[in-house]
């Protein structure tokens, strides 16, 4: 916003966007993040999205729903989303809360997340020229 360190960084690597959340986000910040990310997915025609939530010490119902909604909107735009870095305590709590991550795949860390995307045709980061491949999602 105003010169402070970013709460979230979104980096592009080939056709994959890597979004790292750096600190606890309140609801308005989560919504802003959602908008930014969806915008960038469209702008770069990304095929894969990794959201690193290791810095989130709490994923409550609102955060869980926001993450699920991001993944669903990304899917509608042809990108596969993977959540990485969910802490074990956070995962346990999400389940007890009755939230979970829905259909959104998860991976242990960034590396595994990238591997998961690579295993999906059309979603992985590859070194070939990125061309618009409409409708190539599985």
């Amino acid at each position: 916003m105003n010169g402070g360190p970013a709460l979230v960084s979104i980096m592009r690597q080939g056709s994959t966007l890597i979004a790292s959340v750096h600190t606890a986000l309140d609801d308005s910040e989560l919504v802003r993040f959602e908008h930014d990310l969806i915008h960038q997915i469209g702008e770069h025609r990304s095929r894969g999205v990794i959201i690193d939530v290791a810095a989130l010490d709490v994923i409550d119902s609102f955060a869980a729903l926001t993450l699920r909604r991001i993944a669903e909107m990304a899917r509608l735009r042809g990108a596969l989303t993977v959540l990485v870095g969910i802490q074990p305590e956070v995962a346990f709590t999400m389940v007890r809360l009755g939230m979970g991550t829905g259909q959104v795949p998860t991976a242990l860390d960034l590396e595994e997340g990238l591997a998961l995307l690579a295993a999906h045709p059309g979603a992985g980061t590859d070194s070939t020229e990125r061309d618009a491949r409409p409708g190539s999602t599985p």
């Binding site: 119902s61 956070v90 809360l97 009755g98």
Partner: protein
């Protein structure tokens, strides 16, 4: 005891506890925009400003007791002298802490580094780090009062007594024979007053006003911190923070304004109690709000069934038109991991 009361200064300067809290709150609020290396100098400058503004407020109130209060009245020259004294007292107090103590306190309060992270780095436990932080805060309050009063301690025992009182540590108070010392030492009897003013009941009880999104994060962070003083497992700390987050969101979304009171319990056993209250529209049908099918978020639900599953005790009282109160408790239990 009589002597202590006679010597007590009544409202002559802001309580040390208020100052420490206010300073840390301000530094915390600004921490997102400060370079890490700048935190310490910034904290000291902020402390000075807080002291200055609190003094100004108190001073104005006194001056304007019999008139209409005008907060824009410029400072009068004679108050400036006292103001400078108060400022340097806080700066002196911060400087008197050990470098490691001060750094840990600032890293915790300013950068928001939690006790688990600090413990991992120091090869210690979260409980030990939390206890150390409490001792540092207690010490800071003492050093502030000493600097503000420009007091010379008459005996070697004085500082230990004052710190034990400031920290509300009853075992330590017995060890240093604090009660007896207060009866014998006029200075400590006088200085103990501002130290005892707030410390005790504030130490294990926090009240957080909740009106906007950022308050949800502050409240759950505060609850986690308080809970981490007990021997909760890491999972329970997350569970507590998450439950607080949910009830606070209901306040912000459905009532607009309210508060959360978090309190450590000793009886019937150790645990943490959270009371979330608002004066909002209330919940017309509580049974329905607690029904899982109805209450998943997304729709209009309140997320209450999930919260109830997270906590050990859960009670809700609501009166349409008059607000809602949720009371919930998590008990400490021995954990195996």
């Amino acid at each position: 005891m009589v002597r202590r009361i006679v010597h007590a200064r009544v409202g002559s300067h802001p309580s040390a506890e208020d100052l420490v809290q206010e300073t840390l709150t301000r530094v915390l609020a600004a921490s997102a925009t400060i370079e890490p290396g700048m935190l310490e100098p910034y904290a000291i400058v902020t402390a000075r400003n807080v002291v200055a503004s609190m003094w100004r407020d108190a001073d104005r109130r006194r001056r304007n007791q019999h008139r209409v209060v005008d907060l824009s009245t410029p400072d009068l020259p004679d108050s400036q002298v006292v103001l400078d004294e108060e400022q340097s007292a806080m700066a002196t107090a911060l400087a008197r802490l050990g470098e490691r103590e001060r750094r840990t306190l600032l890293e915790h309060e300013v950068s928001g580094t939690d006790t688990h992270t600090l413990a991992a780095r120091a090869g210690s436990t979260a409980g030990a780090v939390a206890a150390q932080l409490n001792r540092t805060r207690a010490r800071l309050r003492v050093e502030y009062v000493l600097a503000a009063e420009q007091a010379e301690l008459p005996t070697d025992q004085c500082r230990a007594v004052l710190i034990a009182l400031s920290g509300g540590d009853q075992r330590r108070q017995r060890e240093v024979r604090a009660a007896q010392h207060l009866l014998e030492c006029e200075l400590c009897a006088r200085l103990s007053e501002p130290l005892l003013e707030r410390g005790q009941q504030r130490d294990d009880r926090l009240r957080i006003p909740v009106t906007a999104d950022p308050d949800i994060v502050s409240a759950r962070r505060a609850a986690r911190e308080l809970a981490s003083r007990l021997d909760f497992a890491a999972t329970d700390l997350t569970v507590i923070a998450t439950a607080v987050s949910e009830v606070c969101r209901n306040i912000v979304r459905f009532a607009g304004t309210g508060e959360v009171v978090v309190e450590l319990l000793e009886v019937p056993r150790r645990g943490i109690q959270v009371v979330a209250r608002d004066g909002g529209p209330g919940i017309p049908d509580i049974d329905r709000a607690l029904d899982d099918g109805f209450s998943t978020y997304g729709g209009l639900g309140l997320g209450l069934p999930g919260v109830r599953r997270l906590m050990d005790e859960f009670a809700i009282a609501s009166e349409p038109g008059h607000g809602t109160t949720v009371t919930m408790t998590k008990w400490e239990r021995t954990h195996d991991g």
